[in-house]
């Protein structure tokens, strides 16, 4: 607790020095808008907006290695997250997870749920009353793959780039806001590092959200100025991880609540597998049928006795 006080003190001091903040506005807290009580202290500037986002990252039991590594990668990418132990399978619905989030004092949650050891679902939830989204995660490549060669500071604030499709529709806008809040590291976070050396790319292609993380390498000599012509020589190296999110449903409450959006094109992986099996299952039945058909046909149309069948028999 002492640390928090120290932080706000230094911040107030910094503000007094800068004194270029916006005019007083209601202080925003998670529970609602708090009106400022006194207006007498005009010269004292209003406390600026502080991003107090805290993400809780957990997974279900029986998660496979690849997805576990993905979760660990997320933990290392987001310094404002808290990693928690695995939760029991039954508690993915409803109250238990909400309680857990409240207990840890986080404002949002990333919950990785692995079903049948094959499919990974990711819940992105804003805590007290916020919307929650369930995604199906595909095409996972973790940071440990040797083909992803980039590297960046641990905890440096990323630049977030979104493709313009995010503004096309309401549900994409909501998702964009949630992604910004969850993946964007708060500005003066304890564990954040000062420079910007990596960039996240969120794009919507084929109704999926694709995530990429690149390291920025640009030739420079000073910390606040790019070398002349350096912007043209900038290259991006992929750091990873990579994944593709397929939104399934958006709920009004956290981990449940009224369904606000359902993806019409979503087919659950179980159904896909069932369809494949069904198509294969038909093969054997068809073969049997074909055999019986052939037998019936032969019985009904017997062949004429062949004249030359015994020609060579006596010729020994």
């Amino acid at each position: 607790m002492g640390k928090k006080r120290k932080h706000s003190e230094t911040e107030a001091a910094a503000l007094l020095k800068k004194d270029d903040s916006a005019p007083e506005r209601p202080k925003r807290t998670l529970l609602g808008w708090k009106e400022k009580a006194q207006d007498a202290e005009e010269p004292k500037p209003a406390p600026e907006f502080r991003n107090k986002e805290k993400v809780l990252v957990t997974c279900s039991r029986r998660i496979s290695y690849r997805y576990r590594h993905l979760m660990l990668n997320m933990v290392s990418l987001l310094p404002h997250c808290k990693k928690d132990s695995k939760v029991e399978a039954k508690s993915s619905k409803g109250a238990t997870l909400n309680e857990l989030v409240e207990l840890k004092g986080s404002s949002s949650c990333l919950f990785f749920e692995c079903r049948k050891h094959k499919d990974l679902y990711m819940w992105m939830v804003k805590s007290p009353s916020g919307p929650s989204v369930k995604f199906l995660v595909n095409a996972v490549h973790t940071m440990e793959e040797l083909k992803l060669t980039g590297n960046h500071l641990k905890g440096s604030r990323p630049l977030l780039t979104f493709s313009s499709n995010f503004d096309k529709d309401v549900h994409w806008k909501l998702l964009k806001e949630m992604l910004t809040q969850v993946f964007g590291i708060p500005k003066e976070h304890r564990k954040s590092k000062p420079y910007h050396d990596h960039v996240f790319a969120f794009s919507i292609v084929d109704d999926h959200i694709w995530f990429r993380n690149y390291q920025i390498s640009v030739p420079h000599n000073e910390a606040d100025r790019v070398a002349r012509g350096g912007l043209d020589k900038m290259t991006l190296v992929e750091v990873g991880p990579r994944f593709c999110l397929n939104p399934i449903k958006i709920f009004g409450g956290s981990f449940g609540g009224p369904t606000l959006y359902e993806n019409p094109f979503y087919v659950s992986p179980n159904q896909i597998r069932a369809l494949e099996k069904r198509s294969k299952a038909g093969k054997f039945a068809k073969k049997i049928k074909a055999k019986t058909r052939k037998k019936m046909h032969e019985l009904s149309n017997p062949l004429e006795p062949d004249e030359f069948a015994d020609m060579w028999k006596d010729d020994e």
Binding site: E48, F49, N51, S76, L77, G130, E144, T149, N151, H152, L153, K154, L159, L160, T161, F162, S163, S164, F166, D167, V170, K173, L174, E177, Q181, G184, P186, K187, P194, Y195, H196, D197, A201, S203, V205, D206, D207, H208, W210, R212, I216, E222, A223, D224, R225, V226, L231, M234, L236, P258, T259, L260, Y261, E262, P264, F265, V267, Q271, I272, L275
Partner: protein, 299 residues
């Protein structure tokens, strides 16, 4: 209803389902609450919830205040352009993501530079990185290995091509030489016939107006090799200069063996000490250089 139209359009654009055979699978209908709008899609079996008002409400709830400084969010939107990227074409898709990120970074850097905030990491700033050093070592070794493989295949290919070329050139030369030889023999025969015809008169002897290739044929290869000089062959080389260069390069080994067994071998004294071997208690072959020089001295 305009909403319905929008949605139908959306469907027609995205007709190809990413999972293939889904058109007959979705048959659920959801429970409606009072202010939900269920949209009927072009495929009648799909009924999906799309509560735009609810979504907008939630968006307002969770959004940060309007006049938050951009440095808190650090977001930038990139226009993708009109071509829809084909999902299955890996290269094109990754290129699209890359260009999006690059464009975004350029814009952001421009902004940050104007704001005067430091955003580039100085060269002496050492801090914990998201991938450990050992991991980066592995990455580096893999990259080096790949590069080496590529170079080796390149070299092999070049060597093969060169060999082919050399073989062609050589066959050409052989043909030329054979042709010249034939020509010369022909010319000598002709000359003899002429002489016979003219009855061995002495007059005709001087008239060797036959083409001997203007004396050039006595030059090596007739200049066909481009005046290339053959590398000189050492006098002790019994292969005539055509032996494998490797056997010639194996000098050290050859010298050693020669000194040991060549010209009838070595006389005694092989089991007697020299200055260096007096204090060697371990004994044995210490390495070709040392051994060789030792043995050579005792000759």
């Amino acid at each position: 209803m305009s909403l319905g139209d929008d949605f139908v359009e959306d469907d027609e654009m995205n007709m190809s389902d990413e999972d293939g055979a889904a058109s007959d699978s979705e048959a659920e209908s959801l429970s409606d609450s009072d202010n939900e709008i269920t949209e009927k899609l072009t495929e009648p079996t799909k009924t999906a919830v799309y509560n735009r008002d609810g979504l907008l409400d939630k968006l307002q709830d969770i959004s940060w205040p309007e006049d938050v400084e951009w440095t808190h969010k650090l977001t930038v939107e990139i226009d993708q352009g009109q071509e829809a990227v084909d999902v299955n074409d890996d290269l094109a898709r990754e290129m699209a993501f890359y260009t999006q990120a690059l464009e975004g970074t350029r814009q952001v850097f421009g902004k940050l530079q104007e704001m005067g905030l430091p955003f580039l990491r100085p060269a002496d700033y050492y801090a914990e990185m998201v991938k450990s050093d050992t991991h980066m070592e592995k990455v580096k070794s893999k990259l080096l290995y790949e590069k080496k493989q590529m170079e080796e295949t390149e070299e092999r290919r070049k060597a093969r091509d060169n060999k082919k070329m050399a073989k062609e050139v050589q066959s050409q030369k052989m043909k030329e030489r054979a042709k010249q030889k034939k020509d010369e023999i022909e010319s000598v025969k002709k000359w003899r016939k002429q002489r016979q015809k003219s009855g061995f008169s002495e007059k005709g002897a001087g008239e060797l107006d036959l083409e001997f290739g203007n004396g050039k044929s006595f030059q090596r290869g007739g200049g066909g090799g481009g005046g290339k000089k053959r590398p000189g062959v050492s006098p002790g080389d019994r292969s005539g200069g055509k032996g494998k260069s490797a056997s010639r390069m194996n000098n050290k080994k050859r010298e050693f063996r020669d000194s040991k067994f060549g010209h009838g071998g070595r006389k005694g004294l092989s089991k007697q000490n020299t200055a260096e071997t007096t204090n060697d208690f371990k004994g044995g072959f210490r390495g070709s250089k040392a051994g060789g020089s030792n043995k050579r001295q005792k000759r």
